[in-house]
């Protein structure tokens, strides 16, 4: 391995930046943001150099001893192969663009320095997950990511809703992580090793263990039934939504599934595929009736994550990673464009207050359009290739249910994306704020343009081919640019054609309904179903009524036991007994000299009696 030091530096620079900012430069917000940006951009450059020197085919580990208890050894190691190197580029590259964008977005926020410190902490944690070479290391970084996500969602902690959302995200993730931990223990129990390379040789564990490990991904990647935290997480600043809740952290679950792909047996994969497909459908339906610009994109993220998980379940990890990569580009782009709109609209997020922003914000308009087209899967945008490869995989696995599911969701995706697009950027202005909207500064539009470029070409620059170094045996993908453009039509013409057809249906419907309107016509047409979608199928309410009630009940019982049985009975008895004895013994202490003398004599007499007896 050449330049072994570079991945280590890439990993640790952000945490140094975070610590330095927290300790020394919290007052100087521009210096802090500069340090943080330099840390991640330097990481990106070093990753590029490392990959250029070693090539994508390279696979190896850089290991330091960490802890060993008896015959149980855990390394602190970096696993470097096509999978992790590509993720390294995504995290530092997309993350870097978002860091730069944040410099503009957070400019008038008094907590800017703290924001960048937390952003750097997150970058460190995420790189740790990507580079971990064993389960323990990954789990620790996994939790660190949870912590930094908590901090960043609750960044505006003075808002109660932000604090609640942060807590919700953290607690829901705990549920998944508990399963993950049990899964790790089961893997260790059955295989005696937690090292990914060693496990790869040992292969499949039981269905239960695989599904427990999958629980971690369900939490982190917000799959049904733990999907409820992600839309609420939009309470955080928009760059956070772009970085954590679109491009990287939520992708960590999918990445982990791909990293440990060899652990799952056919039954486990079935479950994974159906959970992914179901989540994708559910979230796409919910997205149709939201009115907050960020929440719509959040539900679309849920839906796309569902696609990726479904792809893993359909035995297509390289397709999942491919979609993860293109999704990181276009979803970060969409979020940042939405952030640009929000700034231009003076922190108004309701799409029914916007309209006709095409004139006011031309750059944001074009970048958002590119993101929307990529998300909808239009040839030749990146989303088309990755989504098509997943739908094609469903077809290749002869899973026609999930195939139909995928195509239907593709139509829905186009529909809700262009609903958003038409309402926000076309039509007439629906409020005074929209009339006075303005374009964002260059520091924000530049990252948009960069991401837009990748959202445009991400599908044809051979990304899937890179992942296939890790998952060989699916047929070589062409590295040639022109061949890649038409490859889907040759590889799986049915999937490609139906995917495009879904797009056409979706956009025509969206145009008919939302092409020129200032209110949402859908509730009148769909009635109860629209209300159901708008209220997210009442998942929050159902959880409130069942799990949270049950939890509150258990807490009340525990409180009763603690308060009355432990505190009252056990502790009270001991305390009361001691107190009573003390009071009785106090009576002996009269303070009278002669009483003491008498007792003293009495004592001597008793002692003498026993001695002389």
């Amino acid at each position: 391995m050449k330049y072994e030091i570079l991945p280590w530096l890439t990993l640790f620079l952000p945490i140094f930046a975070a610590v330095f900012i927290t300790l020394f430069t919290l007052r100087a917000k521009n210096v802090s943001s500069f340090i943080s940006i330099v840390a991640i951009v330097a990481g990106f450059i070093m990753s590029c150099v490392f990959i250029y020197a070693n090539g994508f085919q390279f696979s190896g580990e850089s290991i330091r001893d960490w802890l060993s208890v008896g015959d149980f050894h855990v390394d602190f190691g970096l696993k470097l192969d096509a999978l992790s190197m590509m993720m390294l580029l995504i995290v530092t590259g997309v993350g870097g663009a978002i860091h730069i964008y944040s410099y503009g977005y957070m400019d008038d926020d008094p907590g800017k320095a703290r924001f960048f410190a937390e952003l750097s902490l997150f970058t460190f944690s995420m790189l740790g997950i990507v580079l971990a070479n064993n389960f323990i290391e990954m789990f620790i970084f996994w939790e660190l990511v949870g912590v930094s996500s908590y901090l960043l969602i609750g960044f505006w902690f003075e808002k109660p809703s932000a604090g609640d959302a942060a807590k919700k995200a953290f607690i829901v993730n705990r549920l998944g992580d508990f399963g993950f931990m049990l899964g790790i223990l089961m893997v260790w129990a059955s295989h005696g090793s937690l090292n990914f390379s060693a496990l790869q040789g040992l292969g499949i564990v039981s269905t239960i263990a695989g599904l427990l490990v999958f629980c971690g991904a369900v939490g982190k990647s917000a799959q049904f039934p733990l999907h409820v935290w992600l839309p609420d997480a939009m309470e955080g600043p928009t760059p956070v939504s772009a970085l954590i809740h679109a491009a990287t952290m939520v992708a960590a679950g999918v990445y982990m599934l791909c990293r440990t792909f060899y652990l799952y047996n056919a039954d486990g994969l079935q479950v994974i595929a159906y959970i992914g497909g179901f989540t994708a459908l559910l979230a796409a339906l919910m997205a149709v009736q939201q009115s907050d610009i960020k929440r719509i994109i959040a539900y679309s993220t849920l839906s796309q994550l569902g696609y990726m998980v479904m792809a893993v379940g359909l035995a297509g990890p390289s397709q999942a990673m491919f979609h993860l990569t293109t999704h990181a580009f276009f979803k970060a782009l969409l979020f940042l464009s939405a952030g640009s709109v929000i700034i231009g609209m003076h922190h108004e997020q309701d799409i029914w207050q916007m309209g006709n922003l095409r004139k006011k914000m031309p750059i944001t308009f074009w970048t958002f359009l590119i993101g929307a087209l990529a998300l909808s899967g239009v040839w030749p945008f990146s989303g088309f290739f990755s989504k098509d490869s997943i739908i094609g995989q469903a077809l290749a696995q002869h899973n026609y249910l999930l195939f139909a599911d995928g195509v239907f969701i593709a139509a829905l995706t186009t529909f809700y994306t262009f609903r958003l697009f038409f309402v926000v950027f076309l039509n007439q202005e629906k409020s005074d704020v929209a009339k006075h909207a303005h374009e964002s500064p260059a520091v924000m539009t530049l990252p948009l343009v960069i991401l837009a470029a990748f959202a445009l070409i991400g599908g044809v620059i051979g990304i899937q081919g890179i992942y296939q170094y890790n998952f060989p045996g699916e047929g070589e993908k062409p590295a040639n640019f022109g061949a890649a453009l038409v490859e889907p039509f040759a590889h799986s013409p049915v999937a490609a054609t139906l995917g495009l057809l879904a797009f056409v249906i979706g956009i025509v419907l969206a145009w008919m309904l939302y092409g020129n309107t200032s209110t949402d016509p859908l509730p009148a047409k769909l009635g109860g179903l629209a209300a159901l979608m708008k209220n997210k199928f009442y998942f929050d309410e159902i959880y409130e009524a069942t799990f949270i009630r049950a939890h509150d009940f258990i807490a009340a019982v525990a409180d009763f036991i603690d308060r009355w049985i432990v505190e009252g009975l056990c502790i009270g008895l001991i305390r009361g007994g001691t107190d009573l004895t003390g009071r009785a013994l106090r009576l002996v202490q009269t303070g009278n000299l002669q009483t003491y003398a008498f007792l003293f004599v009495l004592g001597v007499a008793v002692a003498l009696y026993f001695v002389l007896r």
Binding site: G591, L593, Q594, A597, V601
Partner: protein
């Protein structure tokens, strides 16, 4: 009548018992103090008697020590009582209950 060890010891016991009762029952500090001396002297008497009947001088030597120490102790004790009296205007043990808090 032959005066034997038991007679001496009886006297010593009686003296000691009187002293002890005095310490326990009398209220005036000075009287308690005198009773205390009585107990010491009861012990002295017993020591001397034992010494005489065992034909050894150890006991008598010890008695000298006790007398010396007792003299010193009286000096200190009386000084304490005087100081106490000056402070409290009383030499009665009922009034000395500041240990009971």
């Amino acid at each position: 009548m032959q005066v034997g060890l038991e007679h001496y010891l009886t006297v010593s016991f009686l003296l000691f018992a009187m002293g002890m009762l005095g310490v326990i029952m009398r209220r005036n500090l000075l009287v308690i103090y005198m009773s205390l001396e009585l107990m010491l002297n009861a012990a002295n008497l017993a020591l001397v008697a034992f010494s005489r009947f065992n034909n050894k001088l150890d006991g008598q030597v010890l008695v000298f020590f006790i007398i010396t120490v007792a003299a010193a102790e009286v000096a200190v004790g009386l000084a304490l009582i005087v100081a106490l009296y000056r402070r409290r205007q009383s030499a009665h043990v009922e009034d000395l209950t500041s240990m009971k808090r």
